[in-house]
């Protein structure tokens, strides 16, 4: 449920390698010393049942494995691993009731739903990564905030109460062996990792795996999720640059980046959307203790400019800069080279959009283009999908529906209190992650809300916010033809159900100030 985003990260593999970033504007050039380039991209998760293309496509040709083990990457190198020969598959049953292709968040959610609605069901999940289903948000948030190495290396982080939370949805023991699935009296869930389904015969209900085995099913769900998209500039870049380029989405990507950053003095993230901004913030915060220089480069005027109305984008950019990020806005990546131990990023504010540098489609925006049917282009359908980000522990936002900054917006803001931060919200709702209740643990201590300040008698004396500080907490409605098609919750947490309801209704002809009030009422305890 993240928007498609192109973010690139550049870091230096060692202290001696530097990147020179040249920008050309009015014949002045600026040099930014960073390390090698890492491409970091997010992918589109296409709704709950992802991957609408139907039959799973064979992975496009790329390096063929010569049968040997994956090439050993140089330390601190982002050398792409050669395609591994799939490990021998543990015994699979011949048939499974429910086959879930993909082992991500969508599959996990589907598994839960299936098991709850069909209590004795037998579910097999097949995932290409080497890991059990896990939550993605911590890879660009909590795992970077965690100081304790032994936690990070085990994909755990501490929530605000100090409790250790794993990014994995379930312990390993939750899963049964695939071969045992048919005989389990009460059904269960089995997991096969490190494999892909390469062909599907829907009529015959047969799935073919990458190692030649096959399995039949009653029902099959394709939830393979999206893949990061690279920039063509980087795809065509010289080897020395490509070695220092990475895309960011998976646990493995996190491990790579985490490892390389240990010995780096700088990193550049290209892309100013949800993931790029979240990651920049996380690395920016880290930079305060490690001295890492963090750059963020994108062509828009400010962070989140495609989603936030300009005033909010401006505010967000300033906040991200205050987190220690060197934000370089209004720049495209024009070219990339490696010279004299320097990776050179040439930036340009020209319209070299042929490279498609740094543009991203919000998932919903793209849908809007593809579907001409007006009925489909509404907040209703798009409202199934939610996205968001945390920029450190003090700013968090969630968006649902069509949140395109070119739309007309109406926003209602209140001054925030200490209560109104992602960190505080985590405690209140008892979730390990602010925006993610899929984990399903409840470990909160209910907090009592702070006492609101007394009302003044004189209603004329409302403090007019002068500084940007006063975008503490609020709601932004995105309107199309006077109908709400998208909602952004700014430091307002736990109100997604209300947002969904508002989106379904559209709130045409409503006083949006009154509609906004629904998001500020106290929770019934």
């Amino acid at each position: 449920m993240e928007p498609e985003n192109t973010s690139l990260v550049a870091i230096s593999p060692d202290k001696h390698t530097r990147i020179k970033i040249q920008t050309r504007q009015n014949s002045t050039s600026s040099t930014v010393k960073t390390g090698s380039i890492i491409g970091v991209c997010t992918a589109t998760i296409i709704g709950y049942f992802a991957y609408k293309k139907g039959v799973f496509k064979r992975k496009p040709g790329g390096k063929k494995s010569d049968g040997s083990a994956a090439s050993v990457a140089e330390e601190d190198d982002f050398e792409e691993e050669e395609e591994k020969v799939p490990a021998p598959t543990p015994d699979l049953p011949e048939h499974v009731q429910y086959l879930l292709i993909g082992a991500g968040t969508a599959s996990h959610g589907a598994m839960r739903s299936i098991r709850i609605n069909d209590p004795k069901s037998k579910v097999l999940i097949i995932g290409s990564e080497d890991f059990m289903p896990y939550m993605r948000p911590p890879l660009s948030k909590e795992l970077w905030f965690t100081e304790k190495r032994e936690l990070v290396e085990n994909f755990k982080f501490e929530n605000w109460t100090g409790k250790e939370i794993s990014i994995f949805y379930t312990p390993e023991a939750f899963y049964a062996e695939p071969k045992d699935l048919p005989t389990l009296e009460d059904g269960g869930v089995a997991l096969l990792t490190g494999h892909r389904v390469v062909k599907l015969e829907p009529e015959k209900k047969i799935a073919h795996l990458d190692n030649g085995s096959q399995i039949t099913f009653d029902k099959c769900l394709i939830a393979t999720g999206g893949k990061p998209r690279n920039l063509s500039i980087l795809e065509k870049a010289p080897k020395e640059v490509k070695r220092r380029t990475m895309l960011f989405r998976t646990i493995k990507d996190f491990q790579k980046l985490d490892s390389v950053l240990q010995s780096s003095n700088s990193v550049a993230i290209i892309g100013g959307g949800f993931l790029g901004s979240e990651l920049a913030c996380a690395l920016g915060r880290k930079s305060k203790s490690t001295g890492l220089k963090v750059f963020q480069i994108f062509p828009e005027k400010g962070n989140m400019a495609k989603v936030f109305p300009e005033y909010l984008s401006k505010w967000t950019t300033e906040k991200i800069e205050s987190e220690g990020v060197n934000v370089i806005s209004e720049r495209h990546l024009k070219s990339v080279s490696f010279k004299d131990k320097q990776v050179q990023l040439k930036l340009d504010n020209g319209d070299e959009a042929g490279d498609a540098a740094c543009f991203y489609d919000i998932l919903l925006g793209r849908r809007r283009v593809e579907h001409h049917d007006h009925a489909v282009v509404s907040g209703k359908l798009a409202g199934k999908n939610m996205t968001g980000a945390d920029l450190g522990p003090n700013i968090g936002y969630e968006a649902i529906g069509i949140v395109d900054s070119t739309l007309e917006t109406v926003a209602v803001f209140a001054k925030a209190t200490e209560e109104d931060t992602p960190k505080a919200a985590t405690g209140k709702t008892g979730e390990g992650l602010r925006s993610d209740s899929e984990k399903g643990t409840s470990d909160s201590v209910p907090k009592t809300p702070a006492q609101p300040p007394k009302l003044t008698e004189n209603t004329e004396n409302i403090n007019v916010p002068k500084s940007a500080e006063d975008y503490g907490k609020g709601i932004v409605f995105y309107l199309k033809d006077k109908v709400i098609v998208g909602i952004m919750l700014w430091n307002v947490f736990g109100k997604m159900p209300i947002a969904r309801k508002v989106l379904r209704d559209g709130a045409e002809n409503e006083d949006l100030y009154e509609v906004a009030k629904n998001f500020f009422s106290e929770n019934k305890e």
């Binding site: 098991r115 709850i116 209590p119 004795k120 250790e164 379930t170 312990p171 023991a173 939750f174 049964a176 389990l184 009460d186 059904g187 869930v189 109305p309 300009e310 005033y311 007309e408 917006t409 109406v410 926003a411 209602v412 803001f413 209140a414 001054k415 209190t417 209740s437 399903g440 643990t441 409840s442 470990d443 909160s444 201590v445 209910p446 609101p452 300040p453 009302l455 209603t459 409302i462 007019v464 916010p465 006063d470 736990g494 159900p497 209300i498 309801k501 209704d505 709130a507 409503e510 006083d511 100030y513 009154e514 509609v515 906004a516 009030k517 629904n518 500020f520 009422s521 019934k524 305890e525």
Partner: protein
């Protein structure tokens, strides 16, 4: 009482208000009902909500069926003491937990499941009969309070 401002050449309107303004009752037609909020363990119609995060992975884990039979029996029991006719279901459930001790055992490797202990489920069952025994542990507090409120209505 609120102050309005225009940004972005009139495209974007911003209304600033105080918290009290915003917490006052809304005149909007959109009514947010109970169903729209996150549910607790008991649905508004009195049925068990197996989807509740407060029940952890018991409803959909390997012991899911046994858990549901046990929980359902105890929950709807009208005997005195409550659940006394459910010993078979209880036994089956605990046997299942025992057979999956790697997942539900009490060693440190299972810190995740450990929090969603049997005591939490028991409290949810017990509180329906307005039992005064309330588990004050950090893990069950919020779920319990929420569910007690709903059950009392």
């Amino acid at each position: 009482m609120a102050y309005c401002k225009e940004e972005g050449n009139g495209k974007d309107r911003v209304i600033f208000a105080t918290k009290e303004d915003l917490e006052s009752p809304s005149k909007s037609v959109i009514v947010v009902s109970e169903e729209d909020e996150d549910q607790g363990a008991i649905l508004p119609n009195g049925e068990i909500n197996w989807d509740c995060p407060c029940l952890g992975d018991y409803p959909y884990g390997p012991c899911g069926e046994k858990f549901r039979e046990m929980f359902t029996c105890n929950f709807y029991s009208t005997e005195e003491p409550k659940g006394s006719e459910c010993s078979e279901q209880n036994m089956e459930f605990f046997t299942c937990l025992f057979n999956h001790s790697k997942l539900y055992g009490l060693d440190e490797n299972n810190s995740q499941s450990e929090d969603l202990g049997e005591s939490q489920s028991e409290d949810l069952i017990n509180s329906q009969s307005n039992s005064t025994s309330v588990n004050q542990s950090e893990d069950t507090d919020s779920a319990l309070n929420k569910n007690s409120t709903e059950m009392k209505s």
